[in-house]
């Protein structure tokens, strides 16, 4: 297995911790099975339920793989993801009447623009990434409500729109061998590509330097602004892809389509072993983190735990993981963040 510290002295340790994420995922699986065996929950170990888990993990995972680049660059997270997802979903549905391909291309272009803007403001103008992207999230929300006057929108099924809508529906519903959904396939493709980009390309090496020490990277002649911008663009593009998938699932353009994906993605990222300080972690770990988020949601839902309580539990897990991470770094004497 490739890992992000292949240049580092602790590559063995890293490998163990990346494997650890999957260990935890296996543990969740075992807990679910145990709960079913003791009759506390029902329907956990069915093929349908496993597919549900993977599908949910895929949506979180797609966002997380992109956002991991921002985290790895030392800029924590992109909080504009929820409305990027919502906005691009609206745009795509609105434009389906002009055909499927143009609608998707325009949606991706808007995602790209949001990413470029975030990257420019954070990378070049040095805005605080959390505050800036949070502000963008609110502004975009306002734009959505302004344009669509607080309404959810449905695809226009008339005339040639019919075909486009069918294609759009398939983004979420297309299943290979009647099992593996298109989002899962997209996630796997993104994971492989992301892992490659992060560890094997010159951009990945520069990203690691930037995330580890922004000033040292700058004083090594690296265009850190460009690196940071690329990271935000990748996040916005994967958020757009996830936004289209979520919109395809619900068949409706709605402002709440991306709600909660910001925090779910960050949680998946830190559970996957990527530190908020930047420069450490791997995309394979993030995949594991996303699986854990999917499993957790599923088990909690089957247990009858409500959405709000689930948010609370996810929040608590996030705090614990970040705490453990910081503590273990300090004991290694590496906490120079």
């Amino acid at each position: 297995m490739a890992d992000d510290r292949s240049l580092g002295s602790s590559s063995v340790g890293r490998l163990v911790s990346a494997a650890g994420v999957y260990g935890i995922a296996a543990l969740f699986l075992a807990v679910g099975a145990l709960l079913q065996a003791t009759g506390i929950i029902r329907g956990f170990l069915t093929i349908q339920n496993m597919l549900n888990i993977v599908d949910a993990a895929a949506l979180v995972g797609i966002v997380a793989v992109g956002m991991a680049f921002v985290t790895y660059s030392g800029h924590f997270a992109d909080m504009s993801v929820p409305t990027t997802m919502g906005f691009t979903g609206y745009v795509c549905i609105e434009l389906l009447r002009y055909g499927f391909i143009p609608a998707v291309i325009v949606a991706l272009a808007i995602g790209l623009l949001i990413g470029l803007m975030n990257g420019f403001v954070v990378g070049k103008l040095k805005a605080n990434p959390i505050i800036w992207t949070l502000a963008v999230n609110y502004v975009t929300m306002g734009v959505i409500r302004l344009i669509w006057v607080n309404k959810q929108i449905y695809p226009d099924m008339r005339g040639s729109g019919q075909k486009a809508v069918e294609l759009f529906d398939n983004i979420y519903r297309l299943r290979f061998f009647n099992l593996i959904g298109l989002p899962v396939v997209m996630l796997l493709v993104l994971v492989v590509a992301g892992q490659f980009v992060m560890t094997k390309t010159s951009f990945g090496v520069k990203l690691k330097l930037t995330g580890s020490s922004l000033r040292a990277a700058k004083f090594s002649g690296i265009s850190v602004e460009r690196v940071i911008t690329t990271a935000f663009v990748l996040t916005a593009l994967t958020a757009t892809i996830a936004g289209l998938a979520v919109t395809s699932l619900s068949r409706v353009g709605a402002w709440y389509n991306g709600a909660g994906y910001d925090f779910k993605a960050v949680t998946a990222i830190v559970i996957g072993g990527m530190t908020l300080a930047g420069g450490r972690g791997s995309i394979l770990g993030v995949l594991g983190g996303s699986l854990i988020i999917g499993l957790l949601n599923n088990v909690l839902t089957l247990l009858g735990v409500g959405t709000f309580s689930q948010d609370m539990i996810r929040g608590a897990i996030f705090i614990v993981v970040v705490g453990i991470n910081a503590k273990s770094l300090r004991s290694l004497g590496r906490d120079d963040a």
């Binding site: 292949s6 240049l7 580092g8 002295s9 094997k200 390309t201 010159s202 951009f203 990945g204 090496v205 520069k206 690691k208 330097l209 580890s212 020490s213 000033r215 040292a216 990277a217 700058k218 004083f219 090594s220 002649g221 690296i222 265009s223 420069g279 450490r280 004497g333 590496r334 120079d336």
Partner: protein, 505 residues
């Protein structure tokens, strides 16, 4: 109480401290009298810092005995150490940057009037502490608004405020200008007269001969000797430190100086330097001498593309360079080694190999695929050439000693194979061994035809390495000295503006 009569303030008896895999301090006995300035010297990694950390209460598992004023004490926490009157002044400042001098100086003992802060009294107390170190600053300024050397003096004032009986100073002069060093020495003499025991750690041997009463040399975790300062020479100390004799420090080879490589005319950055013109040739080492604040680093940053010039022209091999960015300057072959190793120079969390390859990521990539394997032989070669210890490219840089970190920083720029290498304080704060390695590497680079611009406050270094030295004073080039005419004294006088020829370059 017997010891008290002979005035031993500190007595460390056969102390040792192990780290996994190494013995950092090995059976060392170390004594300091009250009212004595005791210099502690040794190369980086010799165990000086660990010995002093022991005294600061950083370890709870050292072995051996520590007595303070004749009484045996256990120093297992920084609070205990402070209670027994041990004050530490570190090379790296411990001040909180965004808050005021008052709050830094009086942290934990701010005077109160009922539940409120007694601001007037805090002000006057802070003023008093600052006056001790000869500073006349508004104590309400935040630390980040004062200069680094003022901050260093504030740090000293803060530690003195705790009323220590033993004061440890670790490289206290590395950020200070010459006048400030003099001021610090006066303060040390005052402390000495008040009966305070001062442990003075420095790589700068002339300082030790100025200020110390006795000197203890450490090497590889062991104490080599303690001697009254009058009974040793500089050469003997160096020999004890490195464990071999140091022959000629600066051996000058024949140099072949070629055609003009870098031509700078009328270069200005308003507020920092003005109308600077010079030429530097292939294979030439051009020293740039000046006091801190003379505009040396600012000039270097403009040449390296990190800042823009307001006026003037830079030519490399006859073609004008308009570098907007460092990446651009680097691609043309102008490299800049920063004076701030820890923040600007190295990514401390990454490995030696990753740091060395940082400036050449693009060159090691085909298309956009990076090949670490392509850079590995170069990294290994540089690690060997600069004698970086441990010789392992996979080691995290932050865990290396200061001298070895500095070598990694140089290796990084050697890897970029520059045409012009600008060195900003390339050996500040490193031990003699590392310094010699770095110097011979600079000489080799010049022999191979690289143009070296050497900015340094270390006058012997400037004199020893440069073919010519330009004197920079208050943002202007004031004078040039050839190899024959420059000496430590003449440079110092010129940098201070005492040697005529003001204004003309």
């Amino acid at each position: 109480m017997e010891e008290r009569e002979i005035g031993l303030a500190l007595e460390m008896k056969r102390v040792s401290k192990r780290f996994p895999g190494t013995i950092a301090v090995d059976d060392v006995s170390f004594e300091v009298y009250a009212g004595e300035v005791h210099a502690l010297v040794g190369e980086n990694g010799a165990g000086k810092s660990t010995l002093m950390k022991m005294l600061a209460g950083s370890f709870d598992d050292y072995t051996g005995q520590i007595c303070i004023n004749g009484k045996e004490v256990k120093l297992h926490s920084p609070t205990q150490a402070k209670k027994y009157g041990i004050g530490m002044i570190y090379q790296e400042l411990s001040l909180a940057r965004p808050i005021s001098i008052i709050e830094n100086l009086l942290a934990g003992r701010l005077p109160r009037k009922g539940p409120l802060l007694d601001k007037a009294r805090a002000r006057s107390q802070a003023k008093g502490l600052l006056a001790h170190v000869g500073l006349d600053l508004d104590p309400e300024l935040p630390i980040e608004d004062i200069s680094q050397h003022e901050a260093q003096l504030v740090e000293i004032a803060k530690v003195l405020g705790n009323g220590p009986c033993i004061l440890v100073m670790d490289e206290p002069t590395s950020a200070l200008s010459r006048e400030e060093v003099e001021r610090l020495f006066q303060i040390i003499v005052q402390l000495k007269n008040r009966g305070i025991a001062v442990v003075y750690i420095s790589h700068h041997l002339p300082e030790i001969f100025r200020i110390a009463d006795r000197v203890t040399v450490m090497r590889d975790g062991k104490k080599i000797a303690t001697k009254p300062i009058g009974e040793v020479t500089r050469e003997e100390i160096v020999q004890m430190m490195v464990g071999r004799s140091v022959k000629e420090f600066y051996k000058r080879d024949e140099r072949k100086i070629g055609e003009t490589r870098l031509k700078v005319s009328g270069l200005s950055r308003f507020g920092f330097f003005h109308d600077v013109s010079f030429e530097a040739r292939r294979g030439e080492t051009l020293g740039i001498c000046g006091l801190s604040g003379a505009g040396r680093s600012e000039l270097a940053k403009v040449l390296a593309g990190l800042d823009r010039a307001d006026e003037g022209r830079i030519e490399l091999d006859g073609a004008e360079v308009r570098s907007g960015t460092m990446a651009d300057a680097l691609s043309r072959g102008i490299a800049y080694l920063t004076e701030d190793r820890k923040h600007e120079g190295l990514a401390l969390r990454l490995t030696v190999g990753e740091n060395i390859m940082a400036p050449i990521v693009d060159r090691l990539s085909s298309g956009s695929v990076f090949s670490k394997a392509k850079g590995a032989p170069l990294a290994a070669e540089l690690i060997g050439e600069l004698d970086i210890y441990p010789p392992d490219p996979e080691r995290t840089v932050g865990n290396l000693s200061g001298g070895n970190q500095q070598k990694v920083l140089l290796a990084k720029w050697l890897a970029s194979k520059p045409k012009v290498l600008i060195l900003d304080e390339p050996t500040r704060g490193v031990d003699i061994g590392a310094k010699m390695t770095i110097h011979s590497s600079i000489e080799k680079l010049a022999r191979e035809g690289c143009t070296v611009l050497l900015i340094s406050s270390d006058l012997p270094e400037l004199v020893g390495l440069s073919d010519r030295v330009m004197i920079m004073r208050k943002g202007h080039f004031t004078r040039e000295m050839g190899f024959g005419e420059c000496s430590e004294e003449s440079l110092l006088l010129a940098a201070n503006g005492a040697l005529g020829a003001e204004g003309g370059a």
